[in-house]
Structure formats: C-alpha cells, structure tokens
C-alpha cells in the first residue's frame, strides 16, 4: 500500500507545473548561493565550485528550499482535511499507520527530489556564466554527494518529521508551517550569534541544520583544502545529529503511534468548534418585531467605521490564545537572549545597557519580520480563508475601509511585538541590576523607529498589503513577500547587492550604534532612506487598496487597470505624488551618498586602487623627501563634521640626488587651500583629482631641508550608507593624522593586496604583502610611516565647547576662548609618525603612577571598570620599569573611543580603546578582568617598544608591532591573575586563528615572513612569541630581547634579527619545535 501511495503522491505532485517552477527556483538558488559563498571565501586559490562552498550551501538549505518545504510538506498529510476529502479517503479499507508512513515517505521524497535542484544548480555553476573558466575545477562529485546526503537530506528528513509531527499533534496546518519556521529561527539565531561567540560548541549543538558546525570547520581549512576536502566529521557533528536527527526520529515514532484517522479527522469536525453547541434550543412562539433603524453612509462615518474596524481587527488578531502563546515564547526568547547572549564584539558579557538590549531586535529580526509578514498576509485574506467574503464583500463599505483597517490592525500587532522587546529588555535590565542604564529614548528610537523597529515592520507589512492586492492569492502573497524579504537581506549580507537604496525598507547603520556617538551620521542617513521607503510604502498601501478586488477573484491582467473607484482621484494623485517623491528621494540619495563621494561599491574602489597602481607605480622609483618634523594647528568642528588646519611639515631630501617634483597623496574629502614652500606660494604642476594626487614642482637638493606649509580643510558633505566617517564624528571623533595630512611619494598602501582582486583588475599576483628583510631600502623605512622619520612637534587643536581633545604628546596648555576649547600638545621625544587625535565629551579621572601622570577619559556613564583600568595601567608601568627599563613618557592618557575602527590605538602619550573592549564589560569574571588588563597592558608595552625600536618596513614587522607587545602584556596578566588567565586568552587567540586563517586571501606566510594580515600576528604570532618566552623563561626572554634592542639602539630592526638571536638561546631540543612555530605553516 505504501508504494501505491508513493506513486500516487509523486505523480500528483510532479504533474503540477508549480513543482517544476519550485525545482527551477532551487537550481537558481544552487547557483546564486554558490556565488555568495565564493565571495565569502576571499582566497584566490578557492575555486567557485570548491567543495567547501557546496557543503555550506547544503547545510544552510536556503530560504527558497525552506519556503517550499513549508508549502509542500504539510499539505501532503493535511490535504484531506483541507479539501474535506478525509471523509472518503479515511473510510477506505486501508491501514492508517501504513497510510501515515506512505504519506510521510512521499513528502520526504518530494522534498529530497526538489532539494536535488540545489545539487543540479551546483553542477551547473561552471556553465552559468558567473565566473571565468579559471575559477572552476573538476566537479567534486564525491564531496557533493557526501554533503547532500549528510546535510541536505538529513535536514530535510528532520524538517519533514517535525512538520508531520506538528500536524498530528495540533491538527492545524499553521502548526506545520510554524514548526518549520521555528527550526529556521533557531538556525538563524545560532548562525548570527556564532559570529561573536568565544566558544561556539554550544551554538554548534543548538543549530538544527549543523550549519554553524559546517561553517566553523570549513572556515578553518586551508584554501586548497576548501576545494577538495571532504567535510571533517568530529564528535560535535555526531552529537548535533544525535540531538536533532535522534530527537526527530523519536518525534516521528510518537507521531506514528498517535496518528489515527479517527483522531485526525477530528480536525474537520472540531476545527474551530472545540466545544459543539447544542442546537436544539426551544423555538420561541412569540411574535418578534424587528425594530427600524436609520442607515447613515457618509465620509465621516466611513472614517469612524474605519477606526472601529481597525480596533476590531486588531482585537481579533491578538485575542486568540495562540497569539498570546507566540508572543509569550518570543518574549521569553528575547528575555533569555538579553540575559545570556549579550556578548560584546570582542569580549564576554557586558553591562545591561539599553543598547545591548535593543540588539535583540536584530538577532531575531528576521524571524519577527517573517512572522509579521505571514500574519499580515493571513489577516488580509482572512475573509477569504474563513469563506465569509461573499457576505463582507457585499457590505456597503468602501474597500479602503475594510482593507486599510486590516493594515492598521497589523501595525498594532507590530507595535505589540516592538513593545514586547522593550518590556523584555527593561525586565532584563532590572533583573541584572541595570535599572539605572534604562534609556527610554534609545528604546523608543530603536524599537519604535525605522532602524529595524516598528516603522520597519510597517514598511514590510505595506509590501505584503500591496502583494495581497496585486495577486489576490494568499499563498502567492506569502511566497513573494517572505521570499523578497529574505532575498533582500541575504543579498546584502552576502555582498551580492551593495547599494541600500535598492533594498526596500533597509536603512543604513542599524547595527552601528555607538555608546559615544549614538548613530552619528547614520541618524541623518537612515532618516532620508526611511523617508524614501515611506513614500514607496504609501504607494504600496494605496495600490494595495486599488488592486484589491471584492467578490470573485479576477485574473491578474484584468486587475491592471486604473479605471476603478476603489481609490478616488485624490488617492490616485497621492500615489503619483509619492512616486515622484520616491524617485526624487532616490536621486537625492544618489547625490548625497554616491555623487558626493561618500560611498563607492567594492568594485569601484578596487578599480580606483588598481588604476592608481597602474598609473603611478613609477613614482615608487622616484626619490622623494621624508617628513622630519610637523607642527600642526587643527580646528575641529565636530557638529558640522569639518576640520580646518595648517600643517608645517619639515621635509628632508635624504637621497644623494636632487629632487625636482614632490608628489602628495591627499586623503579623501581634503581640500588643499594653499601650499607654501618655505613660506612662499608654489603652484601645482599637475593634479589628478580622481586619484587624489598632486605634483608640486620645486627643487630640493640632496640633504636639503625645506618647510612646506599646507593649509587645508576637510569636510564631509552629504551622508553615507556604509562608512561611519569616524574621523569627523559628532562625539568621540577619532582621527588618524593621515586622514588630513598627505602621504609623500607613491602610496603603496593603496595597492590591492588580495590576489583575486588583483587578477580581476588585470594586475599581477603578489607573493607577499611586504618587502623581504633583504630589501635594505624598506628595512630602513619606518613600518608605521615609510615617508617619515621619527618626529617631534607641536600640535594645537581646538574643538567645540563641551568637548576635550586628546592628542599625541604632553599637554602644555589648555584654555577656553569663546565657545571653543583650545589644547596645545608637544611631543616629549621623537616618535614614530603614528599620530591620532580624539575629541569628545568626556569625564576624566587623574592619578599618578610614581612620577607618571595618568588621565582616563571616558563617557560619563562608563565608570564600571575604571578601577580595573587604573590597576592595569599601574601594573603595566610597574612591569615595564622592573623588567624592561623605563616607561618612556611622563604623561599617559587612556581614552574611550567609538567602536567603528580598530579595538585599540597607540600613539605618543596616548592609548585609545574601543568602547566595546572593556569600558562596558561585566568584569565580574576573571576572564574579563584578564582581558581588560591584557588589552591595556598591550598598549603600554607598545609605548615602550615603539620608543625603543625602529621597526623596519619589511616582513615580520607586525610581529614586532603587534605580537611582541601582546606577549609582554601576557606576562603582566600572568603576574596579576596567574597562568590560568593567560591560558584562557591564548586559547581565544588559537581559536580565532583557526577560524580566520581560512579567509587568508593569498597564501599564509610563516611568522618570520608575516606580512601584515590581521588574523596572523595578533593570534598565531602572540601565541608563538609567548610560547617562546615560556620556553626560554620569561625573565630570560626579556633579558635577551633587551640585549638585541639595546644593540640596535634605534637602528632599523627586523623581527628575524630578534628571532635568530632568541633561537640561539634555546636549548637544542626545543629549537626544532620553535622553528616549526615560526618558520612553517601548519
């Protein structure tokens, strides 16, 4: 019998043209997702049809597959209830258990056959035209089959089971949908959280699709292995499958046992009729007169009616118990997430701040939006679903009253969701002792506004409203609405689309809230994007009313007419005005964002850099002077994102030949007003504005020194969609000197350093991102600024009233004049040209460590860990003084900055630490204490090291710049918190290295050839240096290191010199081990 059922179901399903369409959609997804995964794996050795890409896609499944499963699976079992054929089918002489098994196998097989569309898509990738032939290798049939069976088929089995079991238990079609979506939500949460989690084991286990596991394992594979390796399976994989597949099989067993025709057919007789009412009421004998009534039909009455109906529709949605259950479950999840998952970017738990509570709207945002969109679709088609449309559509109310009231009701439902998140956040804050941190304004802005809050929900509901009117078809509305929504967010997430103005309802900067700077420029940008989408949403709502047809449904083509009176001429006029407004706002955004240079796509940026290299590489061979001194006068106007400045730069020709032209690379948005050469104006020989390069013709003889004065202004105009432009932020401005001052000569940092990008732009591949140690010219360049020697100088900075400036050097003077604050800093000694300026509204605490004056500048409310920072600074300076000589500065300032850039910055007399790197951490645990001390100590070690060593601009430079200070800082942590705390930090680095090395764009170098790539030096480098230090003994290590540093005494030094020296001090039995760490790539 099972085979008969199978045959019938398969034939019935695959006879439908829609099934073929589903299959083709999945073929498309197989190609589309592969392209996205290829963009993710940036290494140029990774093939477009590499096995790893396919494994990830098999595990993720993709939203099209999920939607199709939701549509198809439940119907296979439920259709007899839905179409009321159960009365016939269930009365046939068939075994109900075999019937259940037959239908289950049918659904599973249909899903597998359709899921094979992804497989087919992957096979077709090389022929799809998405890449050139060199990007493809042989099709990895074995790996694909392995991935398809292990991931897709097992996930499909699990989803089919959960859908069937939910139907058997709840006897409602909605239960089938929701159970599948609940699994998807759990997957989305796991996938989202895994990015920031220190330990992903738990997340890998709770992910029902094993996607997180697959991604973690594959990311860690070397580039070559990504093309050919079979997915490694370890205990976590088997445990995950045991939990999810094992659990599903148990669920299947339960459903199989429970299913019976008698029980299941109850869904018809008791659907919505849980308690049958006795209809045998006695007939009244009395004469009843129906009283007369007055009927009023007027515009005002329609408006009143609209409001009453909105309230009624809202009540009808929120009144059922299942709504309360769903909101309750969501509330619980928000609450738990706020308590358990509020990890910062780089650390563990953080203080219960409002900004971390409102983040829940993003991590679960996709699910909430999907839920609301489905709810909206259901509400818009409520009358059709309940089959009462023939009554309601014949009522004397205009279409807009009925439809718009449903839209408004959904807005109310969306408000409930937003308020639920707010309430859960507030409760979590109170429970975690953070009631003082409750920020009603931020809650309102985030949850009720358009940064993925209530207004964003409304925009998406408007889209569903439009689709409902246009299609007149419930399921099509769901598929198009939810499908577009996921297409939208996934396309931007994967970088397939970059310009937000093409992504309906998306606004920039929603994830970029800074405790220091709020949403900064995003506040302006997101406002305009929202206004643009709001005008389109108005059009959607009005057209939704216009296209909605009461009565029997019309064909799609017949609907496309404007000859109806469902919206009157005023309404049609508003549609026109809003459409004009929408396109006007599109142009406005293009002007403000694109034309004013605030945004360019990756492709455009790559093209620009490649063009620069192609056009100006020759300058590299032209002798150029170096900067030997700078006096800077800088006036900051944060409120208008503007800086005016005058830089007196001392340039020296260190070459043996004279120089006749000076090449200046200016930063973007810099407008040079004047260039003076020893006080005299000079003309510009030529200027390439597109490439931001200026040539100044002036003779400079060998060893001649000149003062060049640059008067300029930097001002951001318009707004941005992707770059926070933090160097001129409203509060917490943090500016690199290079953001305003020019680079001399050829600007090598602009070269593309990813081989894939280079090949795409017609450039040759590079073997290394840095010059080899043997390159004596580069060796004598300072790794921080190849065009500058160590500098002294004066810096005068003014800023707006209420803000304080922290700049390199000791503070000589500060004053207030009018509405501006003035600060004068002077460098204590010549230092690498690594200057940063910071301006913000700070609270300050001051103290002394021996003779060194210390100031900590922080956001007023961020006092949580100040004692820990004090202790860290004290311990670090003590360590330096005891172990390494003398701390080089008489003053040191620690300043809190927004998180937009790097975690830490070091500059003469100053340290900047991101707001998310400890200021708001919950430091009750030893791990967090150790991390805060480690990050602070690292910067102070850098102060010491950078003033002692001229780090040559060659391979291994970043081991000296990054890894060595970190390894020394670990010694400080060890002294304070013990070896166990150090082990925790090292483990984190090992994990990060393992996870991130897979994204090496070129070829991972051994540490002695490290060429400045993020994941390597600060992770593997630090671990290796610390291990070397342990092997030598920390004191011996410090002593030997000092010996080398003293020997070089500010002469250019490379890491290989230090390494070779330390290696000679190792016991013979450890040399190979250390050599393996530094000279090989595992």
């Amino acid at each position: 019998m099972i085979s008969k059922i199978l045959k019938f179901e398969l034939r019935a399903r695959f006879k439908q043209p829609m099934t073929l369409l589903f299959f083709l959609m999945l073929v498309f997804q197989g190609i589309w997702y592969t392209q996205g995964s290829y963009e993710y794996y940036v290494n140029d050795a990774t093939l477009m049809n590499g096995a790893a890409l396919f494994y990830k896609n098999f595990a993720g499944g993709g939203i099209i597959l999920i939607v199709i499963i939701s549509i198809i699976t439940g119907t296979v079992l439920y259709k007899d209830i839905q179409y009321k054929s159960a009365g016939i089918i269930y009365a046939l002489p068939i075994n109900e258990k075999r019937f259940f098994a037959g239908r289950f196998l049918s659904a599973f097989l249909i899903n597998v056959i359709l899921g094979a569309g992804i497989f087919v898509g992957m096979v077709l990738v090389p022929f799809s035209g998405i890449g050139t032939p060199d990007k493809f290798g042989p099709t990895p049939w074995g790996q694909m089959t392995h991935g398809f069976l292990l991931l897709t088929v097992s996930n499909l089995l699990m989803l089919t089971i959960v859908c069937f079991a939910s139907l058997v238990i709840f006897k409602r079609m909605a239960a089938g949908y929701l159970s599948v979506f609940a699994y998807v939500m759990l997957f989305l949460v796991a996938e989202t959280v895994s990015g920031n989690a220190a330990d992903t084991t738990f997340i890998e286990l709770i992910d029902p699709f094993a996607y997180v596991y697959t991604a973690q394992v594959l990311d860690a594979l070397p580039a070559d292995a990504k093309n050919t390796a079979y997915l490694p399976l370890n205990s976590i994989y088997f445990l995950n499958r045991l939990i999810w597949l094992g659990g599903s099989l148990l669920l299947f067993w339960y459903a199989y046992r429970k299913f019976s025709f008698k029980d299941f057919i109850g869904a018809i007789s008791l659907r919505g009729r849980k308690k049958a009412i006795d209809s045998s009421t006695p007939v009244s004998k009395k004469e009843i007169a129906v009283p007369h009534v007055r009927l009023i039909f007027s515009a005002i009455e329609y408006i009143r009616k609209f409001w009453r109906l909105s309230v009624l529709e809202f009540r009808n949605v929120v009144r059922p118990v299942n709504f309360k259950i769903i909101v309750g479950i969501l509330g619980l999840m928000f609450f738990l997430q706020n308590i358990m998952w509020n990890a910062t970017y780089y650390l563990g738990p953080q203080q219960p701040l409002t900004s971390s509570m409102t983040l829940a709207r993003l991590t679960m945002g996709a699910f909430i939006m999907m839920l609301l969109m489905i709810w909206a679709g259901e509400l818009f088609f409520k009358d059709k679903t309940a089959n009462i449309w023939q009554i309601t559509d014949a009522l004397p109310v205009p279409v807009w009253v009925g439809q718009l009231s449903k839209f408004v009701a959904m807005c109310g439902v969306a408000l409930i969701m937003a308020l639920t998140i707010i309430v859960c956040g507030v409760l979590a804050q109170i429970l975690m002792g953070g009631w003082k941190e409750i920020d009603p304004g931020l809650y309102a802005g985030d949850l009720l506004g358009y940064k993925w809050g209530w207004l964003t929900y409304i925009l998406n509901i408007a889209l569903v409203f439009f689709l409902a009117g246009l299609t007149g078809h419930r399921f099509l509305t769901h598929i198009l609405g939810v499908g577009y929504y996921f297409f939208n967010i996934i396309s931007f997430d994967m970088g397939i689309m970059e310009e937000l103005r093409f992504g309906y309802a998306l606004t920039p900067g929603i994830e970029d809230f800074s405790e220091m700077n709020g949403y900064g420029i995003w506040s302006i940008a997101s406002f305009w994007y929202f206004i643009m989408w709001a005008t389109l949403a108005v059009v959607f709502v009005l057209l939704g009313i216009h296209f909605w047809r009461r009565g029997a449904s019309l064909s799609f083509v017949k609907k496309l007419t404007f000859q109806t009176n469902q919206i009157n001429w005023y309404g049609k006029f508003v549609v026109l005005i809003c459409l004009i407004g929408f396109f006007f706002l599109q142009s406005f955004i293009v002007r403000e964002v694109n034309d004013k240079g605030n945004f360019e796509t990756d492709a455009m940026a790559n093209l620009k850099d490649a063009t620069y290299e192609q056009k100006y590489k020759w300058i590299e061979e032209i002798p150029q002077p170096v900067i030997t001194g700078i006096d800077l006068s800088l006036d900051l106007f944060p409120e208008i994102r503007k800086a005016t400045y005058q830089a007196d730069m001392q340039l020296t020709n260190l070459h043996s030949v004279s120089i006749d032209t000076l090449y200046l690379n200016t930063a973007e948005f810099v407008d040079i007003k004047d260039i003076l050469w020893n006080g005299e104006s000079v003309g510009v020989a030529w200027e390439d504005k597109e490439m931001d390069i200026v040539a100044v013709a002036y003779r400079l003889d060998s060893l001649e020194r000149v003062n060049i004065t640059i008067k300029a202004e930097k001002c951001y105009d318009g707004f941005t969609q992707s770059d926070a432009q933090p160097d001129l932020a409203f509060n917490g401005l943090f500016m690199d000197a290079r953001d305003i001052l020019p680079t001399i000569g050829y600007h090598a940092d602009r070269e593309l350093n990813k081989n894939r990008d280079r090949v795409d732009q017609g450039l040759g591949k590079i073997n290394s991102r840095m010059a080899p140690v043997e390159d004596s010219i580069r060796l004598w360049q300072d790794a921080f600024s190849p065009d500058a020697l160590w500098l002294g100088g004066k810096i005068r900075v003014s800023t707006s009233e209420g803000q304080t400036v922290v700049a390199p050097g000791v503070l000589k003077h500060s004053s207030k004049q009018g509405h501006r604050n003035y600060f004068e800093y002077e460098l204590e000694a010549a230092s690498p040209f690594e200057w940063y300026f910071c301006s913000g509204s700070f609270e300050k605490i001051e103290f002394q460590v021996k003779t060194i004056k210390v100031g900590i500048f922080h956001k007023k409310e961020h006092t949580f860990n100040l004692p820990l920072y004090q202790k860290s600074i004290q311990s670090s300076i003590d360590f330096i003084n005891e172990e390494l000589g003398t701390y080089p500065f008489s003053e040191v300032r620690l300043v809190e900055i927004p998180f937009y850039q790097n975690e830490h910055y070091t500059f003469p007399n100053g340290i900047a630490i991101s707001e998310k790197e400890g200021w708001i951490a919950d430091s009750s645990g030893i791990e967090e204490k150790a991390y805060i001390m480690f990050s602070t100590a690292t910067q102070l070690m850098r102060h010491w090291l950078y003033q002692r060593v001229l780090i040559g601009n060659v391979q291994g430079a970043d081991i000296l710049k990054v890894a060595l200070p970190e390894a020394l800082a670990l010694q400080v942590v060890r002294q304070t918190y013990g070896e166990e705390a150090v082990d925790g930090l090292l483990q984190k680095k090992k994990d990060a290295y393992g996870k991130e090395r897979g994204n090496e764009p070129n070829v991972e170098p051994p540490l002695i050839y490290a060429d400045g790539v993020d994941y390597l030096e600060k992770n593997k480098g630090t671990v290796a240096i610390y291990a070397l230090s342990q092997k030598l003994g920390h004191q011996a290590f410090n002593r030997e290191m000092l010996q080398v540093i003293d020997k070089f005494d500010r002469q250019a030094m490379s890491f290989s010199t230090l390494y070779n020296h330390l290696k000679t001090r190792l016991p013979a039995d450890l040399v190979d081990q250390v050599a393996y760490d530094f000279e090989k790539v595992k």
Binding site: R271, G272, I277, T281, I288, V290, I296, E301, N316, P320
Partner: protein, 295 residues
C-alpha cells in the same frame, strides 16, 4: 421598487458560459429562481450582489445602475450566499453587531436592538454569546439569514437558504421571508421546488445559464391544466414509455414507479388526469428546455 436585468452574459475563463443573455424583471415580493445545480443561479445571484462583474448586460435596481454604482446597491442589499463561513473565534452577537455597523446602522442602541431581535427571530438567542466556531450547519445558516436581514434591506438575495435547515427551521424561515417580502424585493434561489411554490409570487426557471421560463407559480401550473397524466408502470417499461410519450418525470409511490406524461389528450385508458404542480412544470421545462408561458 423593481430589479431589471437585461441581456446579462458571463463566461468563465475555463470557457463555461454561466449566463446567456439573461433578462428578468423582478418586482416587489418574493421571486423564486429555480434551477438545477450548475444552472447559473449562484452566478446570477453573485452578479446581482456586486460580487462578480458580468461580461455584458445591465442590472438596475430602481434608479441604481448596479454596474456603475455597486456601492449604492450594497446600501440596500441583504445577501445570504449559498456557501459561507464565519470567523470561528467571535460570537454571533459580535459578528452581527459588526456587520450591522458595516451596513450603516450607526446608532449603537438601534444596532443592538435590531441584532437582538433578529437573533430571536432566527432562534439563536440562547447561543448568541457562543463562538461561531461551535455552531452546527443549521445554526450557521440561521446566522446567515440574520445577517442578511440586518439594516432593513430593500433587496434581499438568498441563495439556497433552506439547505441544512430542519423542517421546523425551514418553516420559520418561510414565515420570516414572507413577512419581509411584503415590502421588499426578495430573490430566492433554490433547486427545491417547494420553496418557490410555498413562498413566491413570481418565479423563473433557469437552466444552463438561460432563463427557460418566467411567470407566477399559478400561471406556470395553470399552463399544464388538463394536459398532465399519471400512471403506475413496471420499472422495465420506463424506456418504452419514454420513447413513445412525453414523460416529464417518474417517481416511486408505494413501491410502484409512477410516470407523469404531458399530452393534450388522455394517452391511454390506464392513465388518469393529474392536477399540475409547480414541480411538474419544472420537470416539464427541464425536459423540453424552453416553453414560453403566460406571454
């Protein structure tokens, strides 16, 4: 007060012509539209009720052009569709109050009084506060009748209204409709001849989208006066009689097959004269397709 339908045509996208040049004039009182399943009755009802656009033709109710002013018609319309659902989680009172509001009964107390009176009329008073999801088919049908009568409509369209009602409820419904039909136009679409013969002063028979016969039930019956003959036969003889005579219907009576034949003269001595009923006229029309009556 009358409803005029002229040359109404409707063809569905699958090619089925549901209405063929339908023209009717319906005056105040009860109008019965009789036809088999699939004859086009519901299409005609939905079209009059503004839920479907005809391909061509016009409908007027007094001075309302239904095609151009559907909103105006809805203000005076009470419609009970053949098949309808309800919101399962709301009570009868709640849904009737809501529909009354939508029908323009703005005054809350008037709305309440009319809803309560109708709940009593349709015998749902005792279960008025129960959720509609729990209602039986008959109760739901009574609810449908109540909603159609809200707002004192001038044009009432009831499509197969007695389906699912027990004999007692059907009687009550007849009383109710006849009471209302005194001052309004009521179109009763049905395939149950008894509904029409009991209630309607005017009627039409529709088949395959065409109006086959119009008139009053009495006229329709009278047209067969003296021409109907009845006779018990053996089952196997039916084909023979059908070939030889104009057999318009056959039925069992006391275990015998009784045929009804139409003929101007007595067909043979074993037949006896039969007093015509509306059912006979209905069968006659269906068998002959179209006969002009009462012209």
């Amino acid at each position: 007060m009358n409803l005029t339908i002229e040359n109404l045509n409707k063809t569905y996208s699958n090619g089925v012509q549901a209405l063929k040049n339908v023209s009717l004039t319906i005056n105040k009182g009860m109008f019965g539209l009789l036809g088999q399943n699939g004859a086009g009755k519901s299409t005609l009802m939905r079209t009059i009720a503004t839920l479907q656009d005809p391909d061509s033709g016009t409908i007027r109710f007094d001075d309302i052009d239904v095609g151009r002013q559907p909103d105006k018609l809805r203000e005076v319309l009470g419609y009970l569709p053949q098949e309808f659902g309800v919101y399962p989680t709301v009570t009868a009172t709640e849904l009737l109050m809501h529909i009354a509001d939508m029908k323009g009964i703005v005054n809350a107390s008037e709305r309440k009084m009319q809803v309560e009176a109708l709940l009593e009329k349709v015998n749902l008073w005792d279960v008025r506060n129960k959720k509609l999801g729990g209602y039986s088919g008959g109760m739901k049908q009574r609810f449908g009748i109540a909603q159609a009568l809200l707002g004192e409509p001038k044009l009432i369209i009831v499509d197969e209204p007695t389906a699912g009602l027990d004999p007692m409820e059907r009687n009550r419904f007849y009383n109710l409709l006849s009471e209302i039909g005194e001052n309004t136009v009521v179109i009763l679409s049905t395939h149950i001849v008894e509904d029409v013969s009991t209630l309607c002063s005017q009627m039409a028979i529709i088949g395959k989208g065409e109006v086959l016969l119009t008139g009053t039930p009495d006229d329709v019956e009278a047209a067969l006066q003296g021409r109907l003959w009845e006779k018990p036969i053996e089952k196997h003889e039916l084909v023979k009689y059908e070939n030889q005579m104009n057999v318009i219907s056959s039925r069992f009576h006391l275990g015998k097959l009784m045929i009804t034949v139409i003929a101007d003269d007595l067909p043979d001595g074993n037949f006896w004269s039969k007093a015509p009923t509306l059912e006979d006229a209905y069968f006659n029309v269906l068998s002959k397709k179209k006969i002009a009556v009462g012209a």
